[in-house]
Symmetry: C2
């Protein structure tokens, strides 16, 4: 079997029958797999079990500044957590707020406050403007897009390239349209493409000259230390670059331990210039008396030093690498020479981005669902759930057991071939 | 010494000199006490130490519905936490959302979402209206008022009576002004007055006929189980009453374990009709993937049953009662017959509400601060920080050690007498 697009129609037709038979066999197995979300698997969660023993009834609850972590206070987190995690998101300990269990909440809250009150330097709250727009490099993270949709922020898709978003487009948009107030970025091991922004892209971000003086880069560094190989990608420090370019307040950085410790019970953080942090802390003081400092202390007592987090992530990689490898092997074996699908081979992160021929992704996902395997909804990686080429499917290899994963990807390969072959045939006839 | 207001001026003058001497003695001690916030003391926090042992590395992390509490998901909390805490805030397990560590955040978020999106039944988001008003029974909780101020919600103070807010005023306002969208209530052991709303007040709340169809009662039941005596106050169930009155969606109930377990590391909750909960869950799903389920599980594993929470609260009472008693004894001994101050004698909660002669509170608090004791800012218990009579001071007896507390209250009594006596003298001359 080779390039489906150059096969004779009659050969392709008989191949379709073979595939159809295989598909029916899958259906008969009555699988019930959910491959839709980028969740850690149980073995990964086990890696952090020790965190739960790091604070016990007879522990000391004093934080580095002498506060009682069990009591109220400390709006921006405990000092030792700031110290530790500032290294992870590449900011100074004065440039970080350690929050609750969810960086998504910190992003949502940041947008929400911008809508009702504006950000540092806003003349009016964003919500008082006739229209607010965000640039959305796509494919991207569906939950970023949901926040925009919820707040009625108009999304402008921009293409993702191998080294980051199409910066020509970003620069042009940002410098010409005052209603563009933000851009969503997953700069390292991006969701779903798995690419890391090049130094040049980071520098071009830092040197943006936005028409909106209160424009912000939402830099969701969700996979800062989530490598799959020994040669991890390196991401240039955006806050330093912004400072050098005279744009110190232009970026908000987000991160969390959701995929380091516990997905539901980790700690989240945001980094920004001291001026931004000061502005946000004042707003935060209306919303809360402080985050759960016990969970912060628990994390710091367990990890202690940033180097230990890096070592810990190698254990995650040891669990995840075989899963990513399995997916890539099957894709290569089944589709490598077919000329109907292309996929990313990431050095880290949680996803493999898979692209079909134009106009096939929805049908492929629907077909897999019919056979009992749920993939992330086709289109989910684009604003408004609309993939203009209907071709991107996000594969999330982390959660399922290896055997389920293999089966799911085998099924995917069959569905892709079936849908593609039928499409090719119908274009010939 | 007796009624200062009927003393001869020359006697009062010489009494002032005695007081002034005492005040100077206090100043010489260079105290440095912070009596300003209603925080639990260390001994109270120790009571819950066992919670930290309730989840260890070798525990089961499965929740009642089979979910892994360490992973993502469960937007409204784990089933066993809903079951347990619904009893505390008097709702059904289907009528509760268990959140993160802060009920203040849940209240803020609820107001924030109402501003940007409206509540169930809103025709427009509150923030799109020319003016939004809240009724603020006063004295009340300063952080409620701060939320209103932050969102530019106009606050209408209504007087607090012995059995709750002045309901004649509340009914009149609510039924006549469509821009009134909410009211803040601390219905049990109110902050700061320590009173519990009578059944009649609860019923009148439930039977409100608001002009604004999307009016909400923000029922902050922060002290639901925080009794100081064996004859605790009873609060009528507001949600049931609202249902009976045909207003099932009119109330949001809030609660937390902040003053049961850990002030920084407890769990928060909100209760409401199923329709409200369904509406809110959809909005919440944009903000977060879910709360910290591990901390919820930890709490449920430790407390297990509601009866155990009630028993646990008796231990809190055993620590707090002597502190409240000490304050009340000193106030009675020093001011009982002076006719210049009046105070609450609560059966629960965190505060004693103290009232001076009109126009004295600010001076008293300033004077105490000069001698090294910080009380809650005078006026803080009123909207915009403005006590129209300048007479209310919130005493928070829980945090300081008993000896500090005694000294602080002795100082307060001296300051009150000094300020009052000078006022009386100046009104005579």
């Amino acid at each position: 079997m080779s390039d489906l697009r150059s096969m004779k129609p009659e050969d392709l037709q008989s191949y379709v029958e073979v595939l159809q038979k295989k598909y029916e066999d899958f259906k008969a197995q009555k699988l019930n797999y959910d491959m839709s979300r980028g969740k850690p698997c149980s073995a990964q969660l086990e890696l952090s079990a020790g965190i739960l023993d790091a604070l016990k009834s007879d522990s000391s609850f004093k934080t580095a500044d002498g506060a009682d972590s069990r009591n109220y206070g400390g709006i921006d987190g405990i000092p030792e957590a700031k110290e530790l995690f500032s290294k992870m998101i590449d900011v100074d300990a004065k440039e970080i707020i350690i929050g609750g269990n969810s960086s998504l909440s910190m992003m949502y809250d940041t947008v929400s406050r911008a809508m009702t009150h504006g950000v540092l330097g806003s003349k009016v709250p964003w919500g008082k403007l006739p229209v607010v727009k965000f640039i959305c490099p796509s494919p991207g993270y569906d939950r970023h897009f949901s926040i925009c949709e919820f707040f009625n922020i108009e999304m402008i898709p921009v293409e993702m390239r191998a080294d980051g978003p199409d910066m020509d487009a970003v620069e042009k948009l940002v410098s010409s349209d005052e209603s563009i107030k933000g851009i969503w970025c997953v700069p390292k091991y991006s969701n779903p493409d798995g690419i890391t922004y090049s130094d040049e892209v980071v520098d071009r971000f830092a040197r943006l000259r936005p028409k909106a003086k209160d424009f912000r880069i939402f830099w969701d560094n969700a996979y800062a230390v989530h490598h799959l190989t020994d040669q991890p990608d390196r991401l240039k420090n955006i806050l330093s670059a912004c400072k050098e370019a005279g744009n110190p307040d232009m970026v908000y950085i987000f991160g969390s331990t959701s995929k380091i410790s516990f997905a539901g019970g980790g700690i989240a953080m945001m980094g920004a210039s001291e001026a931004n942090i000061g502005f946000i802390k004042k707003q935060l003081a209306i919303q809360t008396i402080g985050p759960d400092k016990l969970n912060q202390l628990r994390h710091v007592r367990y990890f202690q030093r940033f180097e230990n987090i890096e070592e810990h992530m190698k254990k995650h990689a040891a669990i995840l690498k075989p899963k990513f490898d399995a997916v890539l092997e099957i894709l290569e074996a089944e589709l490598g020479d077919k000329n109907i699908a292309w996929w990313s081979k990431p050095n880290g992160g949680y996803f493999i981005s898979f692209n079909t021929l134009d106009g096939c992704a929805k049908d492929v996902v629907a077909m897999a669902a019919e056979a009992g395997v749920i993939f992330t909804k086709a289109g989910a990686t684009f604003p408004y759930g609309k993939d203009p080429h209907d071709r991107n499917i996000r594969i999330a290899p982390t959660f399922p057991p290896l055997e389920e994963l293999r089966k799911a990807i085998e099924l995917l390969c069959i569905c892709v071939q079936l849908v593609s072959a039928k499409k090719i045939l119908s274009s010939i006839s």
